[in-house]
Symmetry: C2
């Protein structure tokens, strides 16, 4: 798996852990649902600013997006 | 400080901890020196793939780029 795929799997895991749908995470983060879907599929080279939005919506610290 | 500035300060701190110049980090990471300088100045919205290059060059795990 490349870094985008590893990141996508982690986002999906954290989202499910919070019992959020992709649509709910999209609404909370201000991103759109297809973009969330693309991230989770490992297709997006996510930037710092997007990570910050995801972390805020998931109520975690950014570093948790990279923990194993 | 915004997320780009926080990230830039951390990269600078880690680079100095490894006693690398910006030029040396550029060579090790395959990025160019002005880009490294832009990151450290908090001007760059760094992506996953660039973080991976920085982490490899600094010989750390990506999550360490986000530790306080």
């Amino acid at each position: 798996m490349d870094i985008k795929e590893i990141f996508g799997e982690k986002v999906k895991l954290l989202r499910k852990g919070k019992e959020l749908s992709q649509e709910e995470l999209a609404l909370k983060s201000g991103l759109n649902r297809p973009y969330i879907s693309g991230i989770e599929q490992g297709k997006r080279n996510v930037s710092l600013e997007v990570m910050e939005k995801l972390a805020e919506a998931l109520e975690i610290h950014i570093k948790e997006l990279f923990e194993e």
